[in-house]
Amino acid sequence: MAPFIRLKFVSKSFADVVAVDNLSLDIEKGELFCLLGASGCGKSTLLRLLAGFESPTKGTIEIDGHDMAGVAPADRPVNFMFQNYALFPHMSVAGNVGYGLRRAGVRGDALDERVNALLKLVRLQNLGSRKPHQLSGGQRQRVALARALARRPKLLLLDEPLAALDKKLREDTQFELVDIQEKLDTTFIVVTHDQEEAMTLAGRIGIMDAGQLVQVDEPRKLYERPKNSFVADFLGTISFVDGVVGQRDKTGIALDGDLKIRAITNLDLAVGKAVRLAIRPEKICLSRTASTAPNQIEVVVEDLAYLGFATNYRVKTPSGQMFKLQQQQRRSNETPLSWGETGYVHFDPQDVIVLED
């Protein structure tokens, strides 16, 4: 069976700027898919192409088996939730939510019933007669969601749905959004620049850069097995080690030179080939004394930041390689290392990411 959404070699240029560059992507029905990228990477353009506000310069977009070329936004089984919600300022909450239904010919009691059901879904039952300017940011966001869901779209596109909310509210709203998505079984595509938001919401994330998808995967895979330095660097914090393969065996490789870091990988890497390794900060252990652990390196503490639940360190090897690491605060009789002190880091070869670029 064909996937619910299929983008084939889609490009979109504005004058001489290429916003989306030869991009292909399949999304299954009922998925909550996140497009993640820095501003200007083309993610919003991709969303607008799906909504029909823009048409692709090249390539085809299929939704639910139908080619969307020349199909107006109103005729697509798609609704859009705008970044700043784009609520109609002169209409009440109920008027906003019912706008699409009235356009579809729903009137009278049926209209009231549908509007009330939608307001209940987003927990705004008693606010139907309010105007948008009388609502809080979180309430406006929910009105926008209810309005976008009113026509029972098969696909809902959300452009930075939580960007306008403050941090605390954003966290609550993330889970609420996932709940609603699961309840309705509608396919959601969310555009965001906030990686934490993408990780929390999405079943799959597509990371975009310069109009192209760099990697599409589940959040865990993206974080733990990024394909290249862009993805590794974009998601969370990471330390890179550039080196040359010095040894190769069945399960992995080891670097040549003074940092003989060992990594488990099944990539085909010959001895003498340049390679880039990456290690997440929470995978690195820091201690005062040396042990027999693999990948042990002597370091000096360059910088540290106390966060309460953990401490972030930046440490440097004698050869000048930097590592960023995070030590959880736990009960220990060892006094934590401070500025300028010498210690040892070690990490499991399993946790070393071998990048493909």
């Binding site: 107006a72 798609v78 859009f80 784009a86 109609f88 300022p89 300017h133």
Partner: protein
């Protein structure tokens, strides 16, 4: 700081004095019992009473009102169209030329506008026999022509701030373009439309120069009549008339700005 405040205050008072003292004097003298405009001889409402009996003045007032309402309405409709063309259609060909044409009447001496309008009407009449002579309709056309430039400026300012996303939202929810304009765009820019209409209305209502070029027999507007009367000497009746006009304009302007402010306050977030 205190000295600065004193200076600002006295300059402000001077400014307001220059603007409003003559008007206040005129209003006071409209209640003058005597026939001489500048000699006070007791309070009376007799000039207001005679105003009500002056059919010529009343009919000129009616003509002016009729012209102003029509001219303002036409000017606003065209002004909205011009504003939409400039704000929404990006850099179309001949945009510069059109914007120059559209803003020329803002700076054109009225006497030039009036004369050119008169020549246009005369040559149109000789070419296709319309407009037959000059009268109320030619004044309406002339006033609508320069009023629409002012209306366009007012509406444009509002349209520029307009969040295009809300029109896209309406399109996304199944509305067609004409319906989007009527149900979304127009209500949102309504304060500017009202302001544009009022501006065009007042411009038309107190225009003397252009109207005197393009008016014909039997189509004397209030300013034309007042002006011709003043040449024969100012009577307190004119003072009374001016007071009534000020009252009408003040009520309209204050009412409109009150409505606008309420809507704007309601619009601004939080």
């Amino acid at each position: 700081m205190g000295r600065m405040n004193g200076l600002v205050l006295s300059l402000g008072a001077l400014g307001f004095g220059i603007l409003y003292l003559p008007i206040i004097v005129m209003i006071i003298y409209s209640f003058n019992a005597g026939k001489l405009v500048s000699v006070w001889s007791g309070a009376s409402l007799k000039w207001y009473a005679s105003l009500l009996e002056n059919d010529q003045l009343l009919s000129a007032f009616g003509t002016s009102l009729l012209i102003a309402i029509w001219a303002a309405t036409i000017a606003t409709v065209f002004g909205i169209c011009i504003a939409i063309a400039f704000v929404r259609f990006g850099n179309f060909r001949s945009r510069l030329a059109l914007s120059a044409i559209a803003s020329a009447p803002l700076v054109m001496p009225e006497i030039v506008t009036g004369l050119s309008m008169l020549l246009l009407f005369i040559s149109m009449e000789s070419l296709f026999g319309w407009p037959a002579g000059r009268g109320v309709d030619t004044i309406i056309i002339a006033h609508a022509t320069f009023g629409m430039c002012f209306a366009a400026v007012v509406v444009q300012a509002r349209l520029r701030d307009f969040d295009m996303a809300i029109e896209e939202a309406a399109a996304d929810l199944g509305a067609t373009q004409p319906f989007i304009f009527l149900s979304i765009t127009l209500p949102v820019i309504a304060p500017a439309v009202v302001a544009a209409w009022l501006l065009a209305f007042t411009l038309s209502f107190d225009d003397l120069v252009i109207a005197s070029f393009v008016s014909g027999p039997g189509s004397s507007t209030l300013p034309i009549l007042v002006f011709s009367k003043v040449r024969l000497g100012v009577t307190p009746e004119i003072n009374a008339l001016a007071t009534v006009m000020i009252l009408v304009v003040a009520v309209a302007v204050i009412g409109a700005s009150w409505v606008l402010r309420r809507r704007l306050a309601a619009r601004s977030p939080d």
